[in-house]
Amino acid sequence: MQVAECVTINQVLPNSRYSNLWGSIVTAASVKDQLLHGALLGLQLRKKLPYDVTALHGLILLYGPPGTGKTTLARGAAQELAPLLAGGKVRLLEINPHGLMSAEHGQSQQKVYELLCEHIPMLAEDGMPTVVVLDEVESMTVARSAASLSANPADVHRATDAVLAALDRNAIDHPHIVTIATSNFTDALDDAFISRADASINVPLPDIEAIHMILSKTLNDFGVVYPSLVTLAKDKKISGVAKQLVGLDGRQVRKVVTNAMSRNIETVIDPACLSLSQLREAAVELAMISPQRSQNAPV
């Protein structure tokens, strides 16, 4: 796989395609604040002061269970940042390095370094603030512990070395580049990588209030085409449905709505007919089969 093929998104923002991402993720305000403030502060300080003063690598780590919106937040952060910066624009680059990690023996390290130290800076060499999204970064930065050595090829460990070297170099040479890395499994991440993060932000499973908001927002969004669902979204008994879904991630919660619609042919034909009881039934069933579920509250 060529290094250039690893860049799956190269987009100058703001762009209307990304305008809903930030708002679509319901999570604690503090999570979004930490992410946005961390990026802004890093871009400002790293431009004015050298690395040996700031110790900033321009790396923000979002971690938490799958389905909590980490990747969407990372992309949405780039869109949110653009109007807050003097130039009004941000470049979003997203990397899928998995092809490099299965490269010919001995080449992973070289290709990872080439990607992060040469290709990415080249794409960003016009100096525009750039957000680089490294999704599921644990595939590139395995913990170099003894236990891991037996499970992972040496190549992968060398790739971790390359990532760390790239972060150190880019910290000094490219203060306009912010890297937002996401991870579902922080135990698998190398300590040296975690240590380089300017901020490590936990994106947790939604609490009951957040679940309620996710359900309401999903119904409201569908309501653009099916207005009766907007009325359903305002029903106070939605909170009872939300209770059933505690322990599930945001993605699963959103899917409850379409899951409920699919249960009857009438709602398949006309989703506007969706009722509260159908929603409740779908929630109960999903909660029972989901492995992440940690508690079940009665309706």
């Binding site: 871009l43 050298p50 910066l85 080249m122 100096g127 040479d173």
Partner: protein
Amino acid sequence: MHRYRRVAAAPSRRASDTWDVIGQLVISTLEKSPHISGSDVSAAMEIASAAGRMLVAGGHLEKHAIVVVADPVYLSITTVSGVMATNLEEDLTPVPGGTTAREWTIYVPTPDPIGDAVRLAIMGSSHLSAEEPPNESTTKLASSENESVLNLDAITRREREPR
């Protein structure tokens, strides 16, 4: 902002043609400034060409860059030879930032064994230097103190919006 450009040398180009391309890149970047004369840059690059061709042909520019410092421009130019030169995707467009440059210096590397020859060759221009280029952060600090990355108005408006 440190920027990099790589120029294809042999077998894509002879050393003298490679140096011409490097020269054109430097000229096109710096002449965008109303404070810099394109002909002055051209003259300096012509003086440096004697050393430049040797540096290209000897493979020295693959490891030691020509560095153009014209705040806010900080540009490192290296060459690539062999098979990689035939596959190289070059960007020879002028480097951004030149429009506001005032002072400019081109740092020419002096690797062994041609260091003395290079120093001798570039003595004819005050804009050519055989010294180590300054650390990029030094030049950055000098020019960036009053420039803000942030759009303070936009941030203030955002903070006032209801969550």
